[in-house]
């Protein structure tokens, strides 16, 4: 009887932790959206899928390399990408292998390759996935491709909220309109 009580109490504790884990994830993300700064990153999406989390649009950002004076890049290093806001669009201020004492917002990107000949670091920004309803991921990719053909400049961008290195990818926009809304409208017509 006593062991039954202990097991049940332990299970209750586990259940609370199981509930807290996703709740904490949600809380962190909401905090960033509320208090973080919004940046737009120019991008080109593609549609792959994840076995458990469904279809997503993979975002290839125009910001993916930087010529840096920081030449000590070791295998386990990440890239601290410091950002500037240029008329609403994100621009790189500087990139470093360690945290710098700068007032700018930053994100930690995966280092992809450092070219020693021209001191250029290639990296992948961490918010590379935008999940969409499975029937909409492919039309989204087609839409972006069409838009890029027709427009003179790439007008597809990801809207990302950033605060102290943490981020939330809130939406993907084409000409400042949500890609999900555009597809919904197109399918209704």
């Amino acid at each position: 009887m006593k062991s039954k009580k202990i097991i049940f109490t332990l299970f209750l504790l586990l259940a609370v932790v199981q509930l807290l884990a996703p709740a904490k994830m949600i809380y962190n993300q909401e905090q960033i959206i509320k208090t973080g700064k919004a940046y737009k990153f120019l991008t080109q999406p593609l549609d792959p899928n994840d076995p458990l989390r469904g279809k997503y649009v993979r975002l290839n950002y125009q910001i993916n390399r930087f010529k840096t004076s920081d030449t000590i890049w070791k295998k386990n290093h990440h890239a601290y990408v410091y950002l500037n806001d240029s008329i609403g669009f994100a621009k790189i201020d500087t990139v470093s292998h360690k945290k710098l004492n700068l007032p700018n917002d930053y994100v930690i990107a995966d280092k992809y390759w450092f070219n020693q000949n021209n001191n250029t670091l290639r990296f992948n920004l961490p918010f590379g996935r935008f999940y969409m309803e499975e029937s909409k991921a492919k039309p989204a990719e087609d839409l972006v491709r069409r838009n890029n053909r027709e427009a003179i400049n790439n007008t597809t961008c990801a809207l990302v909220y950033i605060k102290e290195g943490k981020f939330v990818l809130k939406d993907v926009l084409i000409n400042d309109e949500s890609i999900t809304d555009i597809i919904r409208k197109n399918s209704n017509n």
């Binding site: 039954k4 097991i7 049940f8 332990l10 299970f11 209750l12 586990l14 259940a15 932790v17 199981q18 509930l19 884990a21 996703p22 994830m25 949600i26 993300q29 994840d50 458990l52 989390r53 469904g54 279809k55 997503y56 995966d110 992809y112 961490p126 918010f127 590379g128 996935r129 935008f130 999940y131 969409m132 309803e133 499975e134 909409k136 939330v168 990818l169 809130k170 999900t180």
Partner: protein
Amino acid sequence: MNSNFKKELSKLIADDVISIEIAKKIDNYYNSKQEPQSNKLLSIFGVLGSLLVGLGIILVLAHNWDNFSRLIKTIFAFIPLVIGQIVVGYSLLKKKSSIWLESSGTFLFLAVGSSISLVSQIYNIPGNLGSFLLTWLMLCLPLVYLLKSKSVFILCLAFTTYYAWELGYANWNNIKTPWMYLLIITTLLPFYITQLKYKLENNLTTVFNFLLPLSLLISFGTFVKGNYQFIVITYVVFFGLLYNLGRLNFFNNIRIRKNGFILLGSLGLVVTMLILSFKGFWGERLLFQKINNHDLIVAIVILITTIVLLIFNKRESSFKWNSLFEYASSLIALTYIVGNYNNLISSTLVNLIIFILGVSTIKKGVDKMNFGILNYGMLIITLLIICRFFDTEMTFVVRGLLFILVGTGFFATNFLMIKKMKKLN
């Protein structure tokens, strides 16, 4: 009880071999020992049902219903989790049967996964698959012990292997060593050992006996990287460890075909040692400085564990030639050290070890009158001869004769054994 057995009993009564009372006693004895068939079936279908429903929920949620607001989607993320927790809580509180615990545990395991995957989907949290799987496992590991659930144990084992695979093999440009895999396996071990101690004959324990070494085998490659020659040696040492684990006291009372550690260890040893038996492998001097420290530490830790196990297993028995498999990996480690100074000696030694292994296995098969072991020994010798054809300069006549000799050996040994068995019968 088996209907054939019942028929036999009535036959024995009819022929006056046993009395009706004795037949009744036998009948009662077997009935009391047997777990009702319907319970087993219910367990299996309960777990399968939960598995399918849970996976179905994950897939339905993965559709990403973007017509709903973020709040509604977030509530959806919690519904399966809360349902799973309520059912598990109810089963624990009401002390329901193992069918309830197994099925609800399986469902809760998948519900936790669906919940965190849906949240990361709603907020586009990029976290790679590895960290997602790790969070999932950490949230579900205690269920194995709280529910004493074998199905959750299997799920944890499968997903931790997937985690190791994802970190160590899947992303070629970002390969990491899955150290947490070791921690999870260590956490699962006490449950497995309890099963071995108290439910050795259970079919599911046999399944564990195969799944655990298989998981270790799949994940082992993620811990070694670098010089290929040294990796092969490390694999030999690893298979030696598996084999010696299979020789622990726990496994004394089960048949070899139910002992995945012995089977995988022995097969792995033969295959890797055959690779080492080629002269080409030892072609260039294996200098120690080519090895990276990480690989060296892994190999040394495994080797020391193997030797400790060997001493522990052999504390009451003396050396026998037919238990050479247990020493093989340590001997190979020695030949590797020799190989740094003279590669001809080491390749010869490896060939000799494989040959002795083959012969001693044949002898063991004959002694135990076991055709499986006998032919396994023959197979080892045959494979050794086939391998030697590639790097030994022999005329076709000699090669042909050797094949004929081995073929005849196969026939002769099997024939002699059948004869011996008939004589004994």
